[in-house]
Symmetry: C2
Subunit: 129 residues, 2 copies
Amino acid sequence: MDIAEVVNTSGLPASTLRYYEDKGLIKSNGRVGLRRQFSANVLERLALIKLGSRVGFSLDEMLAMFTADGPDIDRELLSAKAEELDGKIRELTLMRDGLRHAAACRAPSHFECPKFLRILRFAQRWRDR
Amino acid sequence: MDIAEVVNTSGLPASTLRYYEDKGLIKSNGRVGLRRQFSANVLERLALIKLGSRVGFSLDEMLAMFTADGPDIDRELLSAKAEELDGKIRELTLMRDGLRHAAACRAPSHFECPKFLRILRFAQRWRDR
DNA sequence: ATGCAAGTTAAAGTGCGCTTCAAGTCAACC
DNA sequence: GGTTGACTTGAAGCGCACTTTAACTTGCAT
């Protein structure tokens, strides 16, 4: 498939696809003239990259995670990243509950609401990492 | 308290505190000479900002959420942000499980592992927002 | 064969969230 | 009252993830 089809099906602009290829996150397999040709599996890779960046991974991190350089992948890195996400999930949950409460709470300021403050103080304890 | 104390207790550099003040995210209450003086509650605000940025809110978003301009806060915005986080939590969970599996899986490439692909395809369905 | 829309490149530009720098002010201690 | 070190400002710089631009090439329909 040519770049236009990838653009249409992935929703990403061509400039981004070229940028990702430069970075080594995706690869085109050959050219027709100058024009890149992609195989269909690039779409799965792009989906993974998209998900990865939505959960806060940098492109370099994803390069390390998803682009096997050796004979096989770095399972320790993957587990470490899974743990990282686990901590983040706890933070998101905390913040979500805090926001839900703040939206309902009638205290004049969130900072005067004991429940909100308790959430914040709890979040502090997770601060280090 | 003066800026040095805020730096020590919050762990943030003075440059960041000035930057946040410029942005309107925190305020100092008065000066001694040129030097800003902060009240203790700035620490709670900073904790909130820290948590907020770790969960992916931009400084402008936090300005809108946590800096009441009218008589009271925008409860709808807060609820909307809580929902946003809820969606994100689902994504993080998906990715975490995908990584955990990839770390354990013996398929030659994640892209050949049906379980991993199923996760990805599922993630696609959340793609729109 | 020709025209042109769609592709290509390298380089510069953008927005965010800070950090660094240079030059200046001044509170506090001796 | 002089030094000094913590603080101040405005402006420039930086890393990331792209986007835009300008100049060029080329596959493909006519």
